[in-house]
């Protein structure tokens, strides 16, 4: 008797199959037979497919928030990661998924290589696989650039540079990738289009071709004839193994996203020289190879290495033609393969641990002459004497070096003050500097004065530096300071005289070097000395005080680095300067009014109401980079950890007490502190952008790092992240997690254990009942 009743499911299936053939094709697909049975070693291919699917889904999901412009890329991604529920998961999966995908693809290729599955008739599958590896590499090149953070920007810059150095096609490739004559918005857009449209399209096509080619002959199976007896089926056994492996990969992704979130590397900042550009980890081997190929050999690395690798892989099925699949009988080929892998891994490791000279210099503590012991000082003097004595190697004398190395650009040695940037070095003899001080001043002037504009001459050999030191000391010992230029003829009337003296005093202030450290504008600046209008109008010092300040600044403030002008100005000149400074008490500060008006109307500079999003308060900075910047820009006033209790400014070098009025940053004033990272940042941002006067006399003012562009917005954001961190507030705190990452992982772990446990119980009970 025939049963004519079909279930609804079968009716629908037949209807679809009749019109498309899809159901039959699906059944064929599931019925794949695997010689020798299903194995876990065959699961790597579908693990690749699983990871690719994760990448596509999480990639598309990120497109709901990511903006591919240089002013919003970083902040849109920070928003996605911290303020969108489950954003940490979507981003974490994509970030770690990229790395895992690269690794699993490598393992899959290795497994196939060992099994000899590239041999006839499966060469096509292997060749398409090589295309897929290249596409994977291109994904890993374009992806990290999109956040437009420091690591990504430089990875892109270096990568495009490498592509550009390939002979013949290089320059055109570089132009097409950059879309402009430099790395910027156009480059970001093109890399974005590559990463989200062109490459996914290409990889989808090639994955399908790969699967079609694979299914023609199926899995090659065990090389041992004895193990090929039985047959396994794709559904359900191999699929089960594939799902187990994919599920473990999924758990690994959750674990990594929860416990090792992607770092916040701070906004891309081409002006920041403290970052060492490195490509993404999978290109480190190439980066390392290029170090061995300097100059004209570079092309061998940029073009040669990838080409060589692709050719090696591509010709493998045609070089190794024997039908033997047993790896133990293909020793030479298999060992060559392992050697190749070992070389790549070693080069990758070397690239990873490499530190550039700049990076090493950052890690060293700054030279602190105060800490030299007496014995060390004596040693230096001996060495100095010995080096000068052995100057036969150096053909130029110190005097010639002074001319040829560029010192004369900023310094004169005539004993007369000039209008060059730096002090006349003969007049400077009144500062009574030691040889060690001069040595440090030449190789690292910033050690003595953070904001000096004298560049460091650290590249000079010790001998050259000692020759210069010797020259300066000889000059100062023997040279005579010329009489200062006489003032212009004094007019007859007293009021006229006063005016003339004031005008002359102003002339002198502009020419003898006061402006190197002071401004006369009525606003805080980032120069080491106070603005003279602000200081004089605030403290209203007497003329006697002013004169004493010019003659012996240390009498008023023992820690002052202001040099004495006793030898640079004669008595009349001193009085003229004092007259001028005294007149500043009543000077109307138009400059500051103008500045205020500009602030009121423009409001482009203030962080709170700006429409540009590249404002430090809106950027989540990198606190580790902030620590380095803090060390460079902040410790001289705030101390090494922002702790006011430790010495700051020049006191940092001489070991005295902290300067007056400088607030501690750790712990920071409770009026400024806030456990909400954004509010906390808003409080401190205004100080770093606009500076602030010192409430106590004699202490250094806070420079306006933002307005004067002494620091970029990205750098300020990094500093803010660091200051928050030392106060126990995490700028990268997740605000809207959806579910806390670690909680989610443990919940997943628990649910998985429950399933496994129940399955085991079921299996045990079934066995028991037999």
């Amino acid at each position: 008797m025939e049963n004519n009743k079909k279930s609804i499911v079968n009716v629908v299936k037949d209807w679809i199959d009749e019109r498309t053939g899809l159901i039959k094709a699906g059944a064929e697909f599931l019925h794949e037979e695997i010689p020798g049975g299903t194995r876990f070693s065959y699961t790597l291919g579908s693990a690749c497919l699983f990871l690719l699917t994760i990448q596509i889904v999480t990639g598309i999901w990120q497109l709901f928030y990511y903006v591919p412009t240089i002013d919003y890329a970083y902040s849109s991604l920070s928003y996605l990661r911290l303020q969108v529920p489950w954003g940490w998961l979507i981003h974490g999966f994509h970030y770690w998924g990229g790395t895992l995908f690269t690794i699993i693809v490598g393992l899959h290729a290795l497994r196939v290589f060992i099994w000899g599955s590239y041999k006839k008739p499966r060469e096509m599958v292997w060749l398409i696989g090589i295309v897929l590896i290249v596409l994977t590499a291109l994904f890993m090149f374009t992806g990290p650039v999109l956040p437009w953070d420091k690591t990504g920007y430089w990875a892109g810059q270096v990568g495009i540079g490498i592509a550009g150095s390939v002979p013949i096609v290089g320059p055109l490739t570089e132009q097409i990738l950059q879309g402009a004559n430099k790395m910027g918005q156009m480059a970001l857009l093109r890399i974005y289009v590559l990463h989200v449209a062109l490459l996914p399209g290409a990889i989808a096509v090639f994955v399908m071709l790969h699967l079609v080619a694979f299914r023609k002959y199926g899995e090659s199976g065990p090389w041992d004839e004895k193990k090929r007896k039985g047959v396994g089926y794709f559904w359900p056994e191999q699929i089960f193994k594939d799902v187990v492996v994919s599920f473990l990969i999924f758990m690994l992704l959750v674990f990594l996203s929860a416990f090792f979130p992607a770092p916040f590397a701070g906004l891309a900042d081409p002006m920041d020289t403290l970052v060492t550009p490195k490509p993404a980890w999978n290109f480190l081997f190439l980066y390392q190879i290029l170090k061995f190929l300097p100059g004209p050999l570079e092309a061998l690395g940029t073009a040669g290495a990838p080409l060589f690798i692709i050719l090696l892989f591509g010709t493998l099925p045609f070089l190794d033609k024997s039908p033997e699949k047993n790896p133990f009988k293909r020793g030479f080929v298999v060992l060559t393969g392992f050697a190749f892998v070992a070389v790549i891994l070693t080069l990758t490791w070397m690239g990873y641990v490499y530190r550039s000279p700049a990076e090493l210099a950052q890690m060293e503590p700054p030279y602190k002459p105060a800490e030299l012991s007496e014995m060390q000082k004596a040693n230096l003097t001996d060495k100095y004497a010995a080096l000068v004595a052995a100057s036969s190697q150096e053909t130029k004398s110190g005097k010639e070096l002074f001319k040829t190395l560029g010192c004369t650009e900023c310094h004169t040695t005539t004993g007369v003050s000039s209008n060059k940037q730096g002090p006349d070095l003969l007049m400077a003899k009144t500062n009574n500097r030691t040889a060690e001080w001069l040595y440090t001043q030449i190789i690292s002037p910033q050690t003595h004065n953070q904001r000096t504009i004298m560049p460091p001459y650290a590249h000079l050999s010790r001998q050259k530096v000692w020759l210069l030191v010797n020259y300066i000391q000889t000059l100062q010992a023997t040279g005579k300071i010329a009489a200062p230029t006489p003032p212009p003829a004094a007019p007859t009337s007293t009021t006229g005289g006063a005016t003339d003296d004031k005008a002359y005093g102003e002339q002198l202030v502009n020419s003898v070097g006061c402006l190197q450290c002071h401004t006369v504008q009525g606003r805080v600046s980032n120069k080491p000395g106070p603005d003279l209008i602000l200081a004089i109008q605030k403290d209203k010092p007497t003329k006697d005080w002013l004169k004493a300040q010019l003659l012996t600044p240390q009498q008023h403030n023992p820690m002052s680095i202001m040099p004495s002008f006793a030898s640079r100005l004669n008595d009349q000149q001193l009085n003229a300067v004092v007259d001028f400074l005294d007149s500043l008490k009543s000077r109307k500060v138009e400059a500051s009014a103008a500045a205020e008006a500009e602030e009121a109307s423009g409001s482009a500079e203030t962080a709170s109401t700006s429409s540009s999003s590249i404002q430090s308060a809106n950027i989540i900075g990198d606190r580790d980079h902030g620590a380095i910047l803090f060390h460079q820009s902040c410790i001289m006033c705030h101390g090494p950890h922002g702790d006011n209790k430790t010495p700051g400014f020049t006191a940092y070098q001489t070991g005295n007490v902290a300067p007056h009025g400088v607030p501690a940053l750790n712990p920071i004033d409770r009026g400024v502190y806030n456990e909400d990272p954004q509010l906390f940042v808003n409080h401190i941002d205004q100080f770093i952008q606009k500076g602030a006067p010192n409430p106590e006399p004699g202490g250094p003012a806070m420079p306006d790092f933002g307005q004067s562009h002494a620091l970029t917005q990205a750098q300020i954001a990094d500093l803010e992240a660091y200051v928050l961190w030392i106060n126990g507030v995490d700028r990268t705190m997740i605000i809207n997690p959806g579910m806390e990452p670690k909680e989610f992982f443990f919940m997943l772990l628990w649910l998985t254990s429950v399933i496994v446990f129940l399955a085991a119980c079921y299996w045990f009970i079934v066995k028991l009942l037999k």
Partner: protein
């Protein structure tokens, strides 16, 4: 597609049971995977209702407008959506009753949020989309609008008008802030 011969599968009850067990376990893992991915993927798309914390912004020229006549006025504010901050211009209808008293209407029709206009010849507000008509007190005297014109919170300080921009849900009789 394949060129294999079709080896028939064993139908022994033990093998069938083993196969079913594996299918069940596969389904369980796939189910857990789907569950653990679907919830995040969907939650991620639902926007949070941040910020109706608009400030009171100054509306320039309030002392200069005529009394008793509905006047269209504009003011600048900052619109913040997620991570994007934009300078934006808002428009409002203001009827000045005295130097310290005014009525401020949202420019959006409470029916479906089109912008309406004042017609001085008729002394009425009329919306072009579906024909709602309102008198100067905001009462709907014709058309499908479900409630009177929405007033916006305002302050008059030192003779100057300050208004807080707000959005209200359309097409319902109650005035509910979005």
């Amino acid at each position: 597609m394949t060129e294999h011969k079709h080896t028939p599968r064993s139908n022994e009850p033990e093998d069938v049971q083993k196969r079913n067990f594996i299918v069940g376990l596969t389904a369980a893992f796939m189910g857990l995977l789907t569950f653990c991915l679907t919830i995040p993927l969907v939650s991620y798309l639902i926007p949070s209702n941040e910020g109706s914390d608009e400030k009171f912004e100054k509306v320039p020229n309030f002392p200069a407008i005529p009394t008793g006549v509905p006047t269209k006025m504009t003011f600048e504010s900052i619109d913040k959506q997620a991570f994007i901050t934009n300078n934006v211009v808002y428009d409002i209808w203001v009827i000045k009753h005295a130097a310290d008293k005014a009525t401020v209407y949202s420019p959006l029709c409470p029916h479906l949020n089109c912008r309406y206009t004042f017609y001085p010849n008729k002394e009425q507000f009329a919306c072009p989309c579906h024909g709602s008509v309102f008198n100067e007190s905001g009462k709907c005297i014709g058309g499908p609008a479900p409630r009177p014109l929405d007033t916006l919170p305002y302050k008059i300080q030192g003779g100057e008008l300050f208004v807080q921009w707000q959005l209200y849900k359309a097409a319902i009789p109650e005035k509910v802030q979005i």
